[in-house]
């Protein structure tokens, strides 16, 4: 198995002046406020911040699931904010993977069918070797013929990770992937995510509330009130907690957030 490969093909995920405003008039909420941020390929980044700070919104815009009010987001050379629905669908199918908090596997399909679904939708051939690698790395060999209802939460999430990786996407977005798991399964899933970055050369951006989960990442981006509020490299649970504490003080005395510099 190869180690620490940074594939040259994948591009940087980046946002420039990315803004999202929900609603109109008095009920208007600025979920993202001119966010500039870069995520380097081959890295595992965690996004953290208080509830309602705009983490999920940022992820949706970066992944082209929702449209921005202004600003741009891109994956490599592709300007996501400029694409139409079909192009976005194509992009999600081939260049982006998703891992959801509630797994979102299709109940009528087996684990194997669920994993291969993105290829199936695109009518693409299965890379047998890659599939075998994923199954082995994620420890799913025994479970391929089972349906989601017959799998534990942790196993379901591993299937979901395999599904996200099967197309060798440029980037995998994970929104609270351990939110519905107990701490042991959660730790398992997180180490799989880390292995897919270290060993399989993938890029992962994960939203989480849990400082322990964030510590699995190479880097933590802190977000507060729709703005980038901090950046921690090689985080440990302690440094993440300290960063979050700092945010709380920031919140009480609003200061222009330090833009999260595009670091590689």
């Amino acid at each position: 198995m190869n180690t620490t490969v940074v594939p040259g093909s994948t591009g940087t995920v980046s946002a420039r002046g990315l803004t999202k405003v929900y609603g109109k008039g008095a009920g208007q909420v600025v979920a993202l406020d001119h966010v500039d941020v870069d995520f380097a390929p081959g890295r595992f980044t965690a996004i953290m911040g208080p509830s309602g700070s705009g983490k999920s919104t940022l992820m949706h815009l970066l992944a082209g699931l929702d449209s921005a009010t202004s600003g741009s987001s891109r994956i490599g050379d592709t300007e996501i904010t400029a694409l139409g629905d079909d192009a976005l669908t194509e992009l999600r199918r081939t260049r982006i993977g998703f891992v959801f908090q509630s797994f979102n596997l299709l109940p009528m399909f087996t684990a194997e069918q669920n994993i291969l679904l993105p290829l199936d939708l695109g009518g693409n051939k299965v890379d047998k070797e890659w599939f075998a690698t994923l199954v082995q790395t994620l420890g799913l060999g025994e479970r391929l013929t089972h349906r989601p209802a017959e799998l534990s939460g942790g196993q379901q999430q591993r299937v979901a990770i395999a599904r996200a990786l099967i197309t060798k996407p440029d980037v995998v977005f994970a929104d609270e992937p351990t939110g519905n798991l107990d701490s042991r399964s959660g730790a398992e899933v997180l180490s799989f995510l880390r292995r897919s970055v270290r060993e399989l050369g993938r890029t992962i951006i994960m939203v989480t509330h849990d400082p322990a989960a964030a510590a699995y990442a190479d880097r933590v981006v802190l977000i507060a009130d729709g703005r980038i509020a901090g950046d921690i490299s090689d985080p440990t649970p302690e440094s993440v907690l300290a960063g979050l504490d700092a945010l709380r003080t920031l919140e009480t005395t609003p200061v222009a957030a330090t833009p999260g510099g595009g670091q590689a």
């Binding site: 629905d85 959801f100 509630s102 109940p107 939708l121 695109g122 939110g179």
Partner: protein, 861 residues
């Protein structure tokens, strides 16, 4: 609980509305049928009452021999009675020149105000041998006022012991109109003097009279007195007391009510048959409702469990679901009744502008039954349909509130259901098979017993198949789905989705299957009947029309003229002359020596021309010059090696022989050979082939053309056309009625798809997030709709064929060989409709589905 029920209903309004439409269509159908029945009844009541015109009462001497007209008239001596006007009716024919029309003749009343019809010109008949004619009859006869017509009646000749035709020439004094529809079934009635009408039917006594009372007279005292007076007259004339007791004097209303009671038996039968179709539509609607509630309950599992957690009893939950069904049933039924009523009223308005000869009421008459029957039926069906889902609601464990809400898993059927289904199907199938066997039992076919066995057998096995549909329909759907799955990811998703909930898929397909099976059965049965009778007509009548000149082989002089005239009639495609003659003797040469043939008639025809007129050219297979085509089924004749024909003058001619079974019924030779057999014989018969749209009319035209020439026309084609027309009309009516059930079932498909979309909102969003395009999502749903519709239709067609053929075998078996026809056109139509409907059914749900943003997949509920 009420508040909760209504709050939940408000949340599910969309689903409830589409389920409500199904019920509303059913109840609209029932309400419209009842309203139409009322209109039929009131129309006939009016028409019966109209025969009494302005009379106050009716005197009925039925059951007695009757009294002479004068005796009846003099009954006006009874206190309070103004006029007693004898009433006589008889069926007669009216002739003028060549034309003859059958009609009803009624006696003229004592006063014009007692006449049911109105005079449009001329005067009422005032003397013997004067009549007033209905305008329509006069027109057909070409009769005018002051002209004469002949009345053709029949009198019974005691001496000879048989009826004899009598002809009386009468003068037309006036023309009549029948605005109140008193004699609507006859285009009005001819009016003549009482004595004349009596004479035409050879009688002299009257058993019926119209009565008017003095102003202020009380019918309750006057009428019994009148009846007594009539009885006294009868007894005086020699009638027994017992017979005389049957005399009755009824008020106009009593009389009309009584007559209607007799007449409406038929009306009611028609209405009950139509109502049976309405019941069927409601059953199908019930399936749609049951589906809807199943999903509603499944989706509310969390709410229901939460309610259980906070202390709601099972009974309360069940009551809540049933209450919801009751409210839905009531609202939908009322809507349906309103729609039905508006529909019939609109129809009345349209028909009112046409002249149908029947005075239709202006407005519908809404009786309690019109509202109550569909309302109760609709509510009962809805509540019954919700019963199983309501029980499901009570099974929700309070714990379910604490578990994450996953898509509800739905069980297949129970063992008991499987057993019931198998028993019903097997027993019903056996009865059906037994019915066919009895109806076709070689020596003594008993089709009536076959039907007695077969109809309940067929119904039972069909119920069995429907009860068991949850087991076998998903299997069929899986098979078809597997085939479709090869076409791509959308189809794979669709077929996997279809199989997720076998019960719902089965119920949706079954709703469609019921309608389609019945439609296919009817059309298969009709097609088989048509084919069977056609085959038989073909073998009995080889040609469309046969024209025989002068009825003898000698009237040949004018066949060419006849042929010319016939060929000129529009709709005639070809005519071929046939020459027939009787020879002295025909002997077949057999290995054991010559054998004479029973019939010595030989007919000659040109074989090439013959093929243009014969329906089945095989009937002259092997006919060529020098060959005698022998039509025989006797084994003995098959070995014939030749034939010797002895001509009338005693000379003989050797011919080759070809024996054929089921030929033209006579020995055939070619026209050329005929010349050798009988050089002087000329053609006397014409074979005619038609290519007319209206063969009945064409045959009539031919008849008119050649009548004067003394030719005789027989047209099997006319019989066939009439027969086909009857079958086609019946079929169209039945299929039209069944179509309602099919429409409801198709609504069910849309309903099921919308429910699936709602249920799978998160799944669809996930799929969108991982790369399912909008187009793919749309086609997934379209294929799902298609699959459900196709399965129901295909299975319906197959079952319909089986039942249709079984029916044909039972009913037609005793007539001879049954032709099992496949109504391809109707089957193709059913498939096309179901494919289109399946695809269309997905349009609205798909629109909703693609609108959902993938972001929702990420939302945690």
């Amino acid at each position: 609980m009420f508040r909760l029920t209504f709050a939940q209903m408000r949340k599910s309004v969309g689903k409830l509305v589409s389920a409500g439409i199904a019920i509303a269509i059913g109840t609209a159908f029932v309400a419209a049928t009842l309203l139409a029945g009322n209109i039929m009844t009131s129309t006939s009541t009016d028409s019966v009452a109209a025969t009494l015109a302005d009379a106050d009462a009716h005197l009925d001497l039925g059951g007695t021999v009757g009294l002479a007209p004068e005796a009846i008239t003099s009954l006006d001596a009874t206190a309070g009675v103004a006029v007693v006007s004898p009433q006589v009716q008889t069926y007669i024919n009216v002739r003028r020149g060549e034309r003859e029309v059958g009609t009803l003749a009624v006696s003229a009343a004592a006063e014009p105000r007692l006449e049911a019809q109105k005079l449009t010109s001329g005067a009422w008949p005032a003397a013997t041998n004067e009549v007033a004619l209905p305008a329509a009859v006069a027109e057909r006869l070409g009769a005018t006022v002051s002209g004469t017509v002949d009345i053709v009646g029949y009198t019974f000749d005691e001496a000879k012991g048989e009826s004899e035709e009598t002809t009386t020439t009468v003068t037309v004094t006036g023309l009549l109109d029948d605005p109140s529809g008193a004699y609507v079934s006859f285009d009005g009635a001819l009016v003549g003097q009482v004595d004349d009408v009596l004479a035409w039917n050879g009688g002299s006594l009257v058993t019926s009279a119209l009565v008017t009372l003095d102003a202020g007279a009380d019918p309750a005292t006057v009428l019994p007195a009148l009846a007594d007076a009539a009885r006294a007259e009868l007894v005086a004339a020699g009638t027994s007391d017992e017979d005389a007791a049957q005399v009755r004097a009824l008020t106009k209303q009593q009389y009309a009510d009584e007559r209607i009671a007799q007449l409406s038996g038929d009306t009611n039968t028609v209405m009950y048959v139509v109502l049976a179709f309405g019941a069927l539509a409601l059953v199908v609607a019930g399936l749609v409702i049951a589906n809807t509630f199943q999903v509603l309950v499944a989706q509310r599992t969390r709410t229901l469990a939460l309610l259980r957690c906070v202390g709601a009893t099972k009974k309360q939950l069940r009551a809540s679901v049933l209450l919801e069904a009751g409210v839905l049933g009531t609202l939908a039924s009322l809507t349906g009744i309103l729609v039905g009523a508006i529909g019939v009223q609109a129809l009345l308005a349209v028909l009112g502008t046409r002249d149908l000869g029947v005075p239709l009421p202006q407005t519908i008459e809404v009786t309690p039954a019109v509202v109550l029957v569909p309302l109760i039926a609709g509510v009962v069906v809805t509540v019954l349909a919700a019963f199983a889902p309501a029980r499901g609601a009570t099974r929700v464990a309070p714990l379910a509130a604490l578990r994450p809400a996953d898509a509800p898993s739905v069980r297949g059927g129970s063992k008991a259901r499987l057993l019931l289904a198998v028993v019903l199907t097997v027993v019903g199938g056996a009865m059906l098979a037994g019915g066919i066997a009895v109806a076709n039992a070689g020596e003594e076919p008993r089709p009536e017993i076959g039907l007695l066995l077969g109809i309940p057998g067929g119904a039972l096995s069909f119920v069995g198949l429907i009860v068991g549909s949850v087991f076998w329909i998903p299997a069929v759907a899986a098979g078809i789905g597997a085939l479709l799955s090869r076409t791509g990811a959308s189809a794979r998703l669709a077929s996997a989705n279809t199989l997720r909930n076998p019960r719902r898929t089965a119920a949706t397909s079954t709703a469609l299957l019921i309608g389609v099976t019945l439609v296919a059965m009817m059309s298969t049965g009709a097609a088989s009947a048509r084919a069977t009778f056609n085959d038989q007509l073909d073998s009995h009548f080889a040609v469309d029309v046969l024209v025989e000149a002068s009825g003898s082989s000698d009237g040949s002089g004018n066949l060419d003229t006849v042929r010319e005239k016939v060929a000129a009639v529009p709709g005639v495609a070809a005519t071929v002359p046939v020459t027939s003659t009787y020879v002295d003797k025909i002997e077949l040469t057999l290995p054991d020596g010559p054998v004479p043939l029973g019939s010595t008639e030989v007919s000659g025809i040109d074989p090439t021309a013959a093929r243009t007129v014969l329906h089945d050219p095989r009937k002259i297979d092997g006919l060529e010059d020098g060959v005698l085509l022998v039509d025989s089924s006797r084994e003995l004749h098959l070995a014939a090696t030749g034939a010797v024909v002895t001509r009338a003058d005693g000379t003989t001619l050797d011919l080759r022989v070809k024996v054929i079974t089921g030929g033209l019924g006579t020995h055939m030779v070619t026209a050329t050979t005929m010349k050798q057999i009988a050089p002087d014989a000329t053609a006397s018969t014409l074979f005619v082939r038609l290519d007319s749209d209206n063969p009945v009319r064409t045959v009539d035209d031919i008849r008119t053309q050649v009548q004067d020439l003394g030719a005789w026309v027989t047209g099997a084609v006319a019989e066939r056309a009439m027969f086909e027309q009857v079958i086609n009309v019946l079929l169209a009516v039945v299929v039209g009625l069944l179509a309602v059930a099919v429409v409801i079932a198709l609504i069910g498909v849309t309903n099921t798809l919308s429910l699936s979309v709602l249920e799978r909102q998160r799944e669809n969003a996930t799929l969108r997030a991982i790369g399912l395009s909008r187009k793919q999502l749309r086609s997934t749903l379209a294929i799902e709709g298609l699959l459900i519709a196709i399965v129901g239709t295909l299975l319906g067609v197959v079952l319909g064929l089986v039942y249709g053929w079984s029916g044909a075998a039972t009913v037609l078996g005793s007539f001879g060989d049954v032709s099992y026809a496949v109504p391809w056109r109707d089957i193709a139509l059913a498939l096309v409709v179901s494919v289109v409907a399946g695809l269309l059914a997905s349009v609205l749900p798909a629109r909703r589905a693609v609108r959902t943003s993938p972001v929702e997949a990420l939302a945690v509920d």
